[in-house]
């Protein structure tokens, strides 16, 4: 957009727009070890996850999302981040992602490796858009649901 680029574009990072337009992890697996659904009754957005597990290792994941740019990009970037890791790591990341959205930013920047959320930080500006936080959280809610059926 060509006016007042500062704040607006901070909210819709280029990466969000790109992943919403052309998600890299969209689709379904016919055979999946865990499946989860997220639904936002307020706006009708929904996302479905198919996860292929190898023990407690997330071998592959795809999402099918019908939603806004923020929801679709959040699902895609979530898939990218948790793929190849363990279920426990994914849940731990989920906690830190949520904290980034709902907790006030730390006043002192502790540049600690483990605290970095990488590209998921494109969603940080949502902190000041309470009405849209749910959009970014939806895939993570679906993830939790998927794992609730996995005995761990």
């Amino acid at each position: 957009m060509n006016t007042s680029t500062t704040e607006r574009d901070a909210l819709y990072d280029r990466l969000i727009v790109e992943r919403a337009r052309a998600p890299l992890y969209a689709g379904r697996f016919e055979e999946a070890d865990a499946r989860g659904d997220g639904r936002n009754p307020l706006c009708g957005d929904k996302t479905h996850l198919d996860i292929v597990l190898n023990g407690h290792h997330i071998q592959d994941i795809k999402h099918q999302t019908r939603g806004c740019a923020i929801c679709t990009a959040a699902a895609d970037l979530m898939a990218e981040h948790i793929r190849g890791g363990s279920v426990a790591q994914a849940l731990e990341l989920s906690g830190r992602f949520r904290a980034m959205l709902v907790e006030p930013p730390p006043s002192v920047v502790v540049d600690d490796q483990s605290a970095s959320l990488g590209t998921l930080e494109v969603f940080a500006p949502l902190r000041s858009h309470k009405a849209r936080i749910r959009c970014a959280e939806l895939p993570w809610i679906a993830l939790k649901e998927a794992f609730s059926h996995v005995d761990g």
Binding site: M1, V17, A20, R21, L42, C43, G44, A69
Partner: protein, 417 residues
């Protein structure tokens, strides 16, 4: 200058600039941009006349009503009851006793569902349409479930008009006791052919309720000319306060109906064993009502009357025509609903851009619209959509604001595509 009277009835032009001066909120900035408020269908802004009237009531003339024997109570009762006259006149109701104050339209419809519903027998039916707000759908589902009646839904056409043939067919078996249909859709803008709907309902032995929440704002309402049996509206969309709505009902129907809520003010005599009900409308107004809000609604109605519906309707028709033309030039934009007769509400979707992203990005530019299912989920499903964006217009809306909307939508699409 000639003093000859014009032969054509001239429609008074609204002085929109002067009107805007009376709405202090329109001078506010949002995200450092002048507020462009295109969400009046959700709730309209309030003119000084309403704000000052309510503040002055609380400052100078306030007490509980109908109960006190003192000066303040009597004056406040007069002001409150005076609004009943204003509302009766506003709707052209045959009598002031037929005006019942409620919290909003939702409560007015619930009142009818409960109290008129109590007169219905299993096997009878209520008929609504596919374009109802949840407020005119859920109360009837609740009635269906506790009274064992049928709930029928008249379909709409792809353009967003009531399907009159289908409506007629649903009335044919004579089992419909009440038709409850919107007078104007909050999503499609459709103004329904109320007179025709009422005539057909009556011919089939049914009463008819119109949900006037959207429509009373845009043109003069005459419940007698429409042939309505019940009519509801809500104060906050009519430039008045929240917390006050209106049910108008035909006297004989209101008299037959049992009360809705029980408590103070709605009784005639009370013993521990038994109570008898007050006359209408008080039978339906239990407890201390929204006194200040009701008086505020009176101020809103007087203010709207002073401007006049001829001017308001012409202004809003002009804005709507302009909006439909301008929005049609936005690449990828699709207008939802092409009804034959419409009011100042335009829903749209955009290829590749979700309505919520549209709303958020418009907001960054100071433009307030609504996005979502607009409390009409079954309608969204009928349209094959999960959400739309909606711009709606009021007395204070300017064409320039619609231009800003259209220009910004072009840039939003560029941003996403």
């Amino acid at each position: 200058m000639s003093t000859q009277t014009p032969t054509v009835h001239a429609v008074p032009q609204l002085d929109v600039h002067a009107i805007r001066q009376q709405f202090p909120i329109l001078g506010e900035k949002v995200h450092d941009r002048p507020l462009v408020f295109l969400d009046s269908a959700a709730s309209a802004q309030k003119p000084n006349a309403v704000i000052d009237c309510m503040a002055n009531t609380m400052r100078h003339q306030y007490a509980n009503i109908h109960r006190g024997l003192h000066w303040m109570s009597e004056r406040t009762t007069e002001a409150y009851e005076g609004v009943r006259d204003l509302v009766a006149d506003f709707l052209n109701a045959p009598s002031r006793e037929e005006i019942v104050f409620t919290r909003n339209s939702t409560e007015a419809i619930n009142l009818v569902a409960h109290s008129f519903g109590a007169l219905l027998k299993p096997g009878q039916a209520v008929l609504i349409s596919q374009m109802e707000h949840h407020a005119n759908l859920v109360p009837w589902q609740m009635l269906r479930d506790w009274a064992g009646i049928d709930l029928r839904v008249a379909p709409i056409t792809d353009d967003g008009d009531l399907d009159i043939e289908a409506y007629k067919a649903l009335l044919a078996d004579g089992k419909v006791a009440l038709v409850a249909i919107t007078h104007m859709s909050n999503v499609l803008g459709t103004i329904t052919p109320a007179k025709q709907i009422a005539d057909m309902a009556h011919a089939a032995g049914a009463q008819v309720l119109f949900d006037g929440s959207q429509s009373v704002v845009h043109h003069k309402t005459d419940v007698q000319a429409l042939g309505a049996d019940f009519y509801t509206f809500t104060g906050h969309k009519l430039y008045g306060p929240t917390g006050i709505g209106v049910l108008w009902g035909r006297r004989d129907l209101l008299e037959q109906m049992p009360p809705f809520l029980g408590g103070g003010d709605m009784i005639s005599t009370v013993t521990f064993e038994h109570s008898t009900w007050a006359n209408i409308p008080h039978k339906f107004e239990a407890g201390t009502p929204a006194i200040v809000e009701t008086i505020g609604l009176g101020a809103a109605i007087e203010w709207v009357n002073k401007i006049g519906f001829d001017g308001i309707a012409a202004h809003e028709a002009d804005l709507t025509t302009h909006a439909l033309q301008r929005l049609a030039t936005v690449p990828g934009l699709n207008i939802v609903g092409h009804p034959r007769v419409r009011g100042g509400v335009v829903s749209f979707t955009m290829a590749d851009v979700h309505p919520h992203d549209i709303a958020t990005l418009l907001d960054r530019n100071g433009i307030a619209i609504r996005a979502g299912h607009h409390c009409a989920e079954p309608l969204m499903r009928r349209l094959g959509l999960s959400a739309t964006a909606r711009a709606s217009f009021g007395i204070y809306t300017q064409k320039e604001e619609i231009d800003v909307l259209a220009d910004t939508l072009v840039r939003i699409r560029d941003f996403f595509v």
